[in-house]
Symmetry: C2
Subunit: 335 residues, 2 copies
């Protein structure tokens, strides 16, 4: 499986292809990626949290087969790379993902029952980091941190061009560093974790704290906790709503302080922000950059760059998952 | 310079030797280290903060010559390794050390004016980490963090067996991560840095906060701020003094929380504590271990070990500096 196909088939419109999968708590994205990293075809479908893993994998296989049918004849599928939260790349498993009731499943084996080709899996933030390093704003960077802001706060870390995995493969849990020792209850059982403030649900909690503490009228007073999305908060911030603006400013401030601490610890060239919450744009990223400049060590101010993913939402992890399995096929050590 | 001497001279008591230097803000330690990592001779002298760098290097050269005179004839000095705060191993410089009025000096060149042999320099915490990995409690560990607790809080980080340097060689500045955004003023110009709480001066500041807030009598009420040392606090804690005990407990609690955050970020096998403040022993390390267990993510509790340096105080950095220059002599990439 190690040869990368002949030029001849490429000229006929066929190609040496891999599939990248970004398995999210809400949606799953699938891309067919050629050997230059170009995404030829893309599909997105809901993940259905109540489905079991076998049912999900059967649907995923159906989507992949459907995409393959639309490709030029002669194209060869070489491998499948999967990006997922709670992924253990060493074991090929997804281990008790927070937003799916799967427990621990060997997703690598399950996918291989549908496709007898190499399958690789990694953490979604690591995949997004690889995608940005290959094709996005982190191109060519060797010391760079990816922060994914969605349902939680995830991270991928590159040190000297290699992924930092840690002793047990669980480095980069910045979302569970403690921001406030007596702070908000976290799903992990502790209190005051960074992601209880800096994530889409964190924004929702901050909005509700502001609704309790302040008096301004706001359309946010007519939305229930469960119905409030980060998208709504971003939209209202665009309309000038003071509560929405303040919630995103506070979130950005915590994010900027986190980045200042990470700069002291890792001394990276840049930090890349990625994920649904980043759609809040400058309402979030502006305050984050300001808080970073106010809180960083002298050595990092004006130097370390806080960048926003330049790839379409979801694409960095799909492309990174594709890179992952290509590295596996090329015999590069994949961990 | 790459051959490591003949066995014959070793049998006559002579040897293939390097010098390790631990250049501290208060004292400088010098060791003559043989190729098995054994320290044959040791000397310690005050650093004299008001002296300039050339005067200091002349005194250092005198001490090294004095030690060499006491060695068996036929011994060959192969190189000199230096551990120092504010060291830039890439440039061979010490850059505006906080406790010495030197500005930026090329210490590597200055030492080579006295000894025409290879000289290598690194951060003191990195040297201590290398010493512990070679000869101490971190022997064989690939993912491990060294925290040095003295006048400041320094750190060395090993990831997959390699030192994590960062983009500009300044990773591991955990002492300047922010603990309390509106907290104590720090020498770096910001507020609430970890080392304003977790360091020897941090203990002194906590003692004075307790003296202000509480009513207990204590011998600490008869010592001025400037006269109070961390050693005095440790000794009084041993006598059961409630203020001293509480100050070390609070310091340990902050340290344990820091380690819990570092565990989330780096996922190391162990964290090694080193430096003068660690002489407070269980008065400090006990609360640190308890705070770690209370604050760490489930995955790290009961697993990550908080270890205390097993080498004599100062020796880890001397031995590590010796390893550094031996690596240089052996042609191993030294950064």
């Amino acid at each position: 499986m190690k040869d990368h196909g002949a030029g001849g088939t490429l000229e006929q419109g066929a190609a040496d292809l891999v599939v990248g999968v970004d398995l999210g708590g809400t949606n799953t994205s699938v891309g067919i990626v050629d050997d230059s990293g170009r995404e030829l075809l893309h599909s997105k479908f809901p993940t259905r949290p109540r489905e079991n893993a076998a049912e999900f994998v059967a649907r995923l296989a159906g989507v992949i087969h459907e995409l393959l049918r639309r490709l030029a004849p002669g194209s060869t599928l070489r491998g499948i790379g999967i990006a997922s939260p709670a992924a253990n790349g060493l074991r090929g498993t997804i281990e008790s993902p927070a937003n799916l009731g799967w427990g621990t499943v060997n997703i690598m084996e399950m996918v291989r029952q549908h496709f007898a080709i190499p399958v690789a899996i990694t953490n979604d933030a690591n995949a997004a980091l690889m995608g940005e390093q290959m094709f996005g704003v982190a191109r060519g960077m060797k010391n760079v941190i990816m922060i994914t802001l969605g349902t939680g706060l995830g991270a991928g870390i590159a040190v000297d061009g290699k992924l930092l995995q840690g002793e047990n493969g669980s480095a980069g849990e910045f979302g569970h560093m403690t921001l406030e020792p007596q702070g908000r209850a976290c799903g992990c059982g502790r209190r005051g974790c960074v992601e209880t403030y800096v994530s889409a649900p964190g924004v929702r909690r901050t909005v509700h704290e502001l609704l309790a503490n302040r008096l301004e009228e706001s359309p946010l007073r007519s939305v229930s906790f469960n119905d409030l999305s980060a998208e709504t908060v971003s939209r209202l911030a665009g309309d000038g709503d003071p509560i929405a603006l303040e919630a995103l400013t506070i979130t950005g401030m915590h994010l900027g302080r986190l980045v200042a601490n990470l700069a002291a610890a890792f001394d990276p060239e840049a930090v890349v922000l990625y994920g649904g919450l980043v759609n809040a744009g400058d309402f979030l990223v502006g305050p984050a950059r300001r808080a970073f400049e106010q809180n960083a060590m002298q050595a990092h101010r004006g130097k370390l760059r806080i960048l926003v993913s330049s790839l379409n939402n979801g694409e960095a992890a799909v492309l990174g998952a594709g890179c992952l399995v290509r590295d596996l096929l090329a015999g590069v050590e994949v961990t």
